[in-house]
């Protein structure tokens, strides 16, 4: 009898130990994933796909371009997260200059890295025993080609699913919703590209390369800031460019200053805001922002038919 009791006690203790271990493991797996994202599009994709299962770390102030942001104290937090989502194509150069747990970094455009667009610009230079070299890079506003945006979103889904296999179905479903939305944008942009029918568009900044390639747009980029006044020399060279490539539209990342807009109007150019949404905008999410961008472009096309 004593022996039976002893065996029973041992069995009960073993089962209770197993249960407590199991519940610990379940807690570990069911905890929220800490995810750091380098820009707002990835924030949006992660938010939609991950839903309540992710805590997103995006410490970049709204007024800073995330591509040019450099972390300081924030780096300690970034190093601790479960997943680091990078944009690839040389976006966020700071990632090359800091120490990160490489196994946690996912390049969301890694799969299509052979389609990156190289930057045209820059002088080469030579010094010491090295040959000519140039600090060149790729254009990085990849998500404005919505096909690439879908690839990036799929990367996010895959990374989250690997970390939380139990939630794979949910992530898959959320991704389907997002993909549908992005495909809608893609379709809309294809239509707009067709309506523009090869018309030349000027852009205040070189951020629309992927969009131009995907939707067959002819875009000439300047290096203008919305709130910076331009010099006589700048205007002169712009007028020359305009003579060579006549156009009546200039895309801006945000509303330009009044003075610039007036001069552009005098030159016969309408300013259209097409916000690439690299960073957050007040109370407007990625989806609404893109709809606004396309509406602005469509309004221009309607007002100036071929």
């Amino acid at each position: 009898m004593k022996k039976i009791l002893l065996v029973l006690i041992i069995v009960l203790v073993t089962i209770s130990c197993d249960d407590s271990q199991k519940s610990n493991n379940e807690n570990e797996v069911s905890g929220k994933l800490e995810v750091f994202v380098v820009n707002y599009p990835l924030y949006y994709f992660t938010e939609i796909i991950g839903g309540a299962h992710v805590d997103i770390l995006f410490p970049i102030p709204a007024y800073v371009d995330p591509a040019l942001w450099v972390p300081d104290e924030e780096l300690e937090e970034i190093q601790k997260v479960d997943l680091i989502l990078s944009n690839g194509a040389g976006y966020a150069k700071w990632m090359e200059k800091v120490s990160l747990p490489v196994s946690k970094i996912i390049n969301t455009t890694g799969e299509i890295s052979n389609t990156y667009i190289e930057q045209k610009q820059t002088k080469t230079h030579s010094h010491g025993s090295e040959g000519e070299h140039v600090h060149d890079d790729f254009e990085y506003t990849t998500w404005l080609d919505f096909n690439i945006a879908i690839v990036q979103a799929a990367s996010v889904k895959k990374a989250l699913s690997e970390l939380r296999p139990g939630l794979k179905e949910e992530f898959e479903e959320n991704f389907r919703v997002l993909k549908k939305e992005l495909m809608g944008f893609n379709e809309k942009m294809i239509q707009l590209g067709k309506k523009l029918n090869g018309r030349t568009l000027f852009a205040s900044h070189p951020v629309y390369q992927y969009m131009a390639r995907a939707y067959d747009l002819d875009i000439i980029s300047m290096h203008w800031e919305p709130d910076e006044l331009l010099t006589e020399k700048d205007w002169l060279s712009f007028k020359q460019a305009l003579e060579n490539q006549p156009s009546d539209i200039m895309l801006w990342e945000k509303e330009p200053g009044n003075e610039i807009r007036l001069i552009l109007n005098e030159l016969g150019l309408k300013t259209v805001v097409f916000n690439p949404a690299g960073n957050t905008s007040e109370n407007i999410d990625f989806s609404i922002l893109m709809e606004q961008n396309m509406l602005a472009l469509e309004n221009y096309i309607t007002s100036k038919p071929d």
Binding site: L75, Q79, K97, S99, P101, V102, K123, H125, S126
Partner: protein, 392 residues
């Protein structure tokens, strides 16, 4: 008995030189086999324990022993390099993850190992003082490095140039010591850890300098046209990376072609490890994968085969010493014939005389045993050196 001890001690002290020689001889004979056994056993344990912590190592084809010695003990054996791209191929198998290692340089005789933060998590290395790596140009040092070089967080450490006479070669980099690791009793204690990218800067694959496009000093520019600026060698390459200079640091060429000595591959589970190794065996993956514990075991077996020869030698030497000892005792008894006769004449029994001589011998053996024990204890401090000079 007390008197016998007194007489034995007085005798040994009177012939102190002879006593000393006997103590050393007997002490060494006791110590040598057990001391060597300890060196071998401790070295084996230490090396096997380290090897056991590393699941799989991937490196260029060649000597698997050199690869493992380089990758887990950070002894900078000349091995062929892999590239970052090779690591990407391994990660794409989705059977685990890789941790890159680049061990090519030294700082004041301690190896500099470039890696990623994953290494610290993988090895469960904790920072005792300061913080972990954050930016380029920083290093975290092992406890022994900190102690030997008297460094603390906030100090700096300069990488040693490869060749002092190669003025145009690799520039030494002044690294900021940002953290000191807790002692772990492993080769990590004797290592200077940097980010992989910092190691590439030491190699000269990345550097920082003034913006050549904005240069105004005519002595710095050889010629300038619309597409290229050619500068003189006078252009100063920064040898230290701080906040202001950080922006100017850049890498040339595709990082995927940058060198890595080896990758630690951490498989998701045993099944993944088996599949992973199978892919190498089937030739689906390039380079070679090794299981460190197998390589180290094979290495130790080869090295310690000599242990049996040593043991035989020690048995023979021990027997010879014993014979000499018996001879010394016998001769000494003959030399002490008059002394023994005097003691006997004074009324001392034969039993007492045997007791005095026996205690003398016993004391000799005890003192020799103590010397051997002290040497055995000291041997423990030389295990690392033994590994470094006789195994690695």
């Amino acid at each position: 008995m007390k008197q016998s001890f007194y007489l034995a001690i007085r005798y040994l002290l009177f012939y102190r030189f002879r006593t000393l020689i006997l103590v050393i001889a007997i002490g060494l004979i006791i110590f040598l086999p057990i001391g060597l056994q300890r060196l071998i056993t401790d070295s084996e344990d230490q090396m096997m324990e380290r090897a056991n912590d590393f699941p799989l190592i991937v490196g260029a084809k060649g000597s698997s022993t050199d690869l493992v010695i380089n990758a887990i003990y950070f002894q900078q054996q000349p091995i062929d390099q892999l590239t970052v791209h090779d690591g990407k191929i391994l990660d794409e198998t989705e059977l685990g993850f890789t941790i890159p290692l680049l061990a090519m340089f030294k700082a004041r005789n301690f190896p500099i190992v470039g890696t990623s933060l994953d290494y610290f998590d993988f090895r469960d290395l904790r920072i005792e003082e300061g913080r972990n790596l954050r930016f380029l140009g920083e290093c975290v040092i092992g406890a022994t490095v900190a102690e030997d070089l008297n460094l603390k967080a906030g100090d700096s450490l300069i990488s040693s140039p490869e060749n002092y006479f190669d003025m145009a070669g690799v520039y030494p980099l002044k690294m900021s010591v940002v953290g000191i690791l807790e002692a772990s009793g492993t080769p990590d204690d004797k290592t200077v850890f940097t980010d992989l990218k910092t190691n590439w800067i030491i190699m000269g694959l990345g550097h920082g300098h003034e913006d050549v496009i904005k240069l105004t000093d005519p002595t710095l520019v050889i010629n300038r046209d619309s597409s290229n600026v050619r500068t003189t060698s006078k252009l100063f390459i920064y040898n230290e990376i701080d906040g202001k200079k950080m922006d100017s640091f850049h890498f040339h060429g595709a990082m995927e072609s940058y060198p890595v000595s080896a990758f630690i591959f951490v498989p998701d589970n045993t099944k993944s490890a088996t599949i992973f190794r199978g892919r190498f065996e089937a030739g689906e993956l390039p380079n070679q994968v090794v299981i460190p514990i197998k390589v180290v075991d094979h290495l130790l077996q080869s090295i310690f085969r000599i242990k049996h020869i040593f043991n035989a030698v020690f048995i023979l030497v021990g027997m010879a010493t014993m014979l000499i000892l018996i001879l010394i005792v016998t001769l000494s008894l003959r030399l002490r014939k008059d002394e023994i006769h005097t003691i006997f004449t004074m009324g001392c029994s034969r039993y007492k005389i045997v007791e005095i001589l026996g205690i003398e011998l016993l004391l000799l053996v005890i003192i020799s045993g103590t010397v051997a024990a002290a040497l055995f204890y000291l041997t423990g401090f030389f295990v690392d050196d033994f590994i470094r000079y006789f195994i690695l």
